[in-house]
């Protein structure tokens, strides 16, 4: 079965005044219909750029974006427009993602009219009401005529999700969609997205820096860990959090403070060799993590870029040492 949407060795470079940086370096990721997965990583790891590449808002510098098996950037006109509607982005900042001068009704009805899903105010009103109910903004009458500033952060984020739903998307990329809303309501937003995946078969990629959020959201799916533009581990969620294979994933999980004093105060640290994150302008050769990695082996990790390879337990990892230890296979070292 072909995946619904797929990044095939996609890279993206940006030219900055200081030089060319590779924000995303040969990332591959295939997603099936109705899948709910997470991309996690620290700032500058390329997770946001990956999300924008998935939505087609950015053109890859290399590699292909496939939707239903077709290369998106080779399609034109109506096909491209169909793809654009099929893949929607939910932004991080609910204060910036809604137009402050437009009411909820105006925001939600515009795409309905544009794409002929409503031809009269009455139809639009009915459709908008239904959308608001679907994102748990009820009773809808209380929200339909409001301006964004009259809503809380969580309510705005729901309107943003409803807006994405106006075009019946097949894929939603949610970039840090809960990090700016209050802690006490994050889970309900995640549940809303999960319900869309489960009930309507929407594929959802949640991009987050928060591993705990990722663990909850992708508890039945996968988590991809990114570091300096590369996917370093892609694994089923529970196996990733209980037994991370990549030393970077292991370091992250060991470092994350937890909302539980007993657990968090007795966590075993993974000591890194350096706290310094290399600049994207001058990435280290070989594995970009090797200058910090406790497992790094000279002559191997600083020379050869590790590929994302399968290891036992439906998971993939880009680490020479982890692959060797978990499969017994050695990476070929150039002489």
């Amino acid at each position: 079965m072909t995946a619904l949407i797929e990044l095939d060795h996609v890279s993206r470079t940006f030219t900055t005044p200081a030089g060319v940086i590779t924000a995303v370096d040969s990332v591959s990721l295939a997603l099936d219909q109705g899948e709910a997965m997470c991309l996690v990583g620290e700032s500058g790891c390329g997770k946001t750029t990956t999300g924008r590449l998935l939505t087609g808002l950015l053109r890859p510098s290399g590699g292909r974006l496939l939707y239903e098996g077709k290369d998106v950037w080779l399609t034109k006109g109506a096909d491209l427009a169909r793809f654009r509607r099929a893949v929607q982005l939910v932004h991080q900042d609910p204060y910036a993602s809604l137009n402050p001068t437009r009411t909820v009704f105006q925001t939600l009805s515009a795409p309905l009219f544009r794409h002929k899903k409503a031809s009269s105010q009455r139809q639009a009103f009915a459709a908008v009401t239904e959308l608001l109910q679907r994102v748990d903004l009820s009773p809808p009458e209380n929200f339909i005529a409001k301006y964004p500033h009259q809503l809380s952060g969580g309510q705005r984020q729901r309107v943003a999700i409803a807006r994405a739903l106006t075009v019946d998307p097949k894929v939603i990329v949610a970039d840090e969609a809960v990090s700016m809303v209050d802690v006490s309501i994050r889970i309900s937003l995640l549940n809303l997205l999960l319900a869309l995946a489960k009930e309507f078969g929407v594929t959802i990629v949640l991009i987050t820096h928060d591993l705990a959020v990722a663990r909850y959201f992708a508890s039945r799916g996968r988590i991809g860990v990114m570091y300096l533009g590369r996917m370093v581990e892609l694994a089923e969620t529970e196996s990733l959090v209980t037994d991370p294979a990549h030393p970077y994933s292991a370091a992250l999980i060991a470092a994350i403070p937890e909302a539980d004093p007993d657990i968090t105060r007795s966590k075993k640290r993974v000591e890194l060799r350096s706290a310094e994150i290399p600049s994207l302008l001058s990435l280290p050769p070989g594995c970009t993590f090797h200058p910090r990695c406790p497992l790094a082996e000279a002559g191997l990790c600083d020379v050869l870029i590790p590929q994302l390879l399968p290891i036992p337990g439906t998971r993939e990892v880009a680490c020479h040492v982890a692959v060797r230890e978990r499969t017994g296979q050695r990476a070929a070292v150039p002489v």
């Binding site: 620290e42 969580g154 209050d182 889970i187 309900s188 820096h209 959020v213 994350i256």
Partner: protein, 342 residues
Amino acid sequence: MPVLSVRDLSIDYSTRRGPVHAVRNVSFELEKSETLAIIGESGSGKTTLAVGLIRLSPRGTKVTSGQILYTKNGLTTDIRTLDDDDLREYRWAEAAMVFQAALNSFNPVITIWEQFNDTARAHGMKDKHKVRDRADELLDLVHLDAKRVLHAFPHELSGGMKQRVLIALALMLEPQLVILDEPTTALDILTQRSIIDLLRQLREKLGFSMIFISHDLSIAAELADRMITMYAGRVVEEANVDDMFYRPRHPYSVGLLRAVPRVSGALGSVASIPGSPPDLMRLPVGCSYAPRCPYAIDACRAEEPPLVAVDTPKHEAACIRWKHVAEILGSNAEVPVAEKLA
């Protein structure tokens, strides 16, 4: 004698729509070398309270009642009565504050050394050699290489390094009290971890008291001795950290704890609090949390519940239903709320 004793503090600020009671009748005490976490979400009043403690409130803010009693060497002063000179002295030498926003508010055109020198001069340290020695010592304390960092401009430092410099600056005059506003929020996980470990070391080495303000429960779990939960401008629960995490008695604390998933251990029954925080201009009659509270009864909507001792004398909650909450959660096991409710 506590280092800081806040009594019945209320702070208003004015908006276009009228005055907002941002902090209402807050009282707490902070002992020497103790770490207190003030936890709350947007609109809880935690930041207004924090800046109120060092009287750095923005224009339009007004303390309407209460005392902020600061004690040093047996001498107690009410911060509210200090004049401008004494206040400046108090702000760095006694109680230093590290703002989250300060990460981006370094003057971009002067070096870190000049930041140190300016701060020192503002407090009467004129001898550059002494300042230099002190800067070296402080940067060493926060694990930064003084030779490299002092000559750097702010943009040349990473977020974590800037946060370390801010902490070092705050410690320059050996304050007894350090107030931190969201100390790790803008930082990456690995950097967060190193800052948390650093704060823990510094506290042990220097013995200062610490108050930090955060919406992040995990930082409280890491560092706090005691915790205060704020909701709609009031303290709704105060307890030592274990009691708060494993035996909370206010339904809001319960809801907040349950809303935060973990990476390690069982996920449990994670859930959000229904509804949204109240509009501070139109607070409901009775308990502000009642409209969102699963345990609310009619009596909750009649009048605002006072803070009362629960379980132990050092554990207080502003809830008339705390016994009911205690029954549901049980008293003993050191198990997080989400697991108990699963």
